[in-house]
């Protein structure tokens, strides 16, 4: 194309590489739905026939339903709590000259890089020393650690994406901090809030490592699945369940990214004054 500059001219091998990369990225996951419709206990080729019986069987599993509702309960709570805390944290991080800002942000983001098993066992040890019984509350606490960095990372670009002068204009026109937040800040960052809610819900819903250590008698869905993996006869139902979860997760994440479009990955819009 004539509009392409020298630097940007087409690179055929790289294009082919990209396509192969994407195929390999998705293929393993796509085998799950494929075999979930296969009329066989085993995930082997050749396929033996189309069936919906694994999905039907799933329908009758009370324990699966209980685990699903546990996960939804935890997910909703964690999404609400982490987004709520994240809004204020993101505002503080982007709007104030705070000494020690770097270390504070680094500390809050720690769960993104430290092996979650460490957080899981550390929290388990603390809870057991305090005599707190494991329950959905303890799972929620664990998930809040994992989700808060995601919420803040989603919200920060939103705050950075709009000029601070807009909030200052509100103060200048006579509104105090509280009213400025309701009348200006929240409407401006709302797509980010929604995206953060959906993303943190998805992360919590899918989280296994922490949940494994912190679940009491009520398992979340991933913990339930982990338990089922020991039984070969449950394998096809797990495939069916996994297919549904992956499909729903894909839709939710695409939805949240779509809502929050324009504020991705730090954005390039700078703001500031001399």
């Amino acid at each position: 194309m004539s509009e392409e500059s020298y630097i940007h001219r087409r690179n055929r091998p790289l294009q082919i590489y990209a396509v192969i990369f994407l195929i390999l990225l998705y293929v393993p996951v796509l085998f799950l739905p494929l075999f979930s419709f296969n009329d066989s206990l085993y995930t082997t080729f050749p396929l033996t026939g189309f069936t919906l019986k694994w999905y039907e069987e799933l329908w009758t599993r009370d324990a699966m339903w209980a685990a699903l509702f546990n996960s939804i309960k935890v997910g909703l709570f964690v999404a609400a709590a982490s987004t709520f805390l994240g809004i204020f944290a993101a505002k503080a991080i982007t709007r104030y000259r705070l000494p020690g800002r770097g270390p504070i942000v680094g500390f809050i983001m720690l769960p993104l890089v430290i092996p979650l098993i460490i957080f899981g066992v550390a929290l388990l040890v603390l809870l057991s020393r305090l005599g707190v019984p494991l329950s959905l509350y303890t799972v929620s606490a664990g998930h809040l650690i994992v989700c808060l960095p995601f919420a803040i990372a989603t919200l920060i670009p939103r705050f950075e994406g709009f000029d601070q002068a807009i909030e200052e204009a509100s103060a200048d026109l006579g509104e105090n901090g509280w009213w400025t937040f309701w009348r200006v800040t929240l409407p401006m960052v709302f797509p980010g809030v929604l995206a953060s809610f959906i993303l943190t819900f998805t992360v919590s819903f899918d989280e296994f490592i922490m949940a494994f250590f912190l679940t009491g008698t009520q398992p979340t869905l991933p913990v339930y699945i982990w338990g089922q993996l020991r039984f070969p006869q449950s394998f096809p139902s797990v495939l069916a369940l996994a297919s549904i979860i992956i499909a729903v997760s894909f839709v939710m994440v695409i939805l949240s990214l779509y809502i929050n479009r324009g504020a991705q990955f730090g954005g390039t819009k700078g703001s500031g004054h001399d």
Binding site: P222, L229, I245, I254, Q264
Partner: protein, 311 residues
């Protein structure tokens, strides 16, 4: 419009109230107080949920297990055992080694992809980024499970090879091996590698590349002398973002590793589960953290050194 209209139509009480509350004055005085006030809830939670448990974990690593209870007197016994019994060191070394290979594989394979999207995708960039990172947002457990389906003894690859007649017996090396774990780790964490590298490539000012070309560099030299050094921060963060979490992983080795592919995470999990030796589990967690910290510091120093040599 005249002077009158604006002055008469606006009620006199429009002037802002002169009285200002005490708290309001204080908050206005201290911008810092406001900022810290806003971040306090999140920070307090994180401090309680990270530092406190971690402190107890450290304390517990100096205890010893006595049957179902703990001996809470200070003891270095666990650390002594961890250093003396070769199984611990071997497992730790193997974990770091496997994570290291998975990290290098993921970074090397993802770099061209990040480069492609940053430099050669002009329309629908967002679509490509979503496409590359989407799998990352879905359940890690299920992605690993998918690889079990692919690599399993009676899995996709084996049954496919048998049905086309290339092999007669299922290959056993596919599942329950170190390579199965490494492949899965590299694949599952690919999105984590792409994003930071993409961001740092995207940030590179295109005129720098044109300048390098203008000054006589061909595509290869330009890449080595301009693009790569400038994208190094992205490469470093991608490496750390994969290496650190994967060293402690236990899902992948548990599902795909078998005895040869077990990692330190599996042992830690067992210490808190079936083996029921929490203090030893705590000790191993602390040792894992220490190893990760040392390796990361060395890695960052090395890359800084290399970068200085290049430029």
């Amino acid at each position: 419009m005249s002077e009158q209209s604006i002055h008469t139509s606006v009620p006199a009480e429009l002037a802002p109230p002169g009285k200002v509350g005490r708290l309001s004055r204080l908050m206005h005085r201290s911008e810092r107080a406001r900022g810290y006030g806003l971040i306090a809830p999140a920070l307090t939670f994180m401090l309680c949920a990270i530092l406190l448990p971690f402190a107890i974990l450290v304390v517990m690593s100096f205890w010893t297990a006595t049957g179902f209870d703990f001996d809470t007197s200070f003891s270095l016994e666990n650390y002594k055992q961890a250093l003396e019994r070769p199984i611990y060191a071997a497992l730790l070394e193997r974990s770091l080694w496997m994570s290291g290979i998975a990290t290098v594989a993921a970074v090397v394979l993802c770099y061209p992809m990040a480069y492609f999207v940053a430099f050669h995708v002009h329309r629908h960039k967002m679509f490509w980024i979503i496409l590359m990172t989407l799998p990352f947002w879905t359940s890690y457990l299920l992605r690993v499970f998918a690889w079990k389906v692919v690599l399993g003894y009676e899995g996709v690859i084996n049954s496919f090879l048998i049905s086309v007649g290339l092999i007669e017996e299922p290959l056993e090396v596919l599942l329950y091996s170190q390579s199965a774990v490494i492949i899965t780790l590299a694949h599952a964490w690919a999105a984590f590698a792409i994003l930071p590298m993409y961001v740092s490539l995207e940030k590179i000012d295109r005129s720098l590349l044109e300048a390098a070309t203008d000054l006589g560099d061909g595509p290869v030299m330009r890449f080595l002398r301009v693009t790569l050094p400038l994208s190094l921060p992205g490469v470093i963060s991608a490496s750390l973002l994969i290496f650190i979490p994967t060293t402690g992983d236990y899902i992948t080795p548990a599902l795909l590793g078998g005895p040869d592919g077990a990692m330190i995470g599996n042992l830690i999990q067992k210490m808190f589960g079936p083996i029921n030796n929490w203090p030893m589990g705590a000790t191993l967690s602390i040792l894992l953290m220490l190893c990760i910290s040392v390796i990361c510091v060395l890695f960052i120093l090395l890359t800084l050194f290399v970068r200085r040599r290049i430029s």
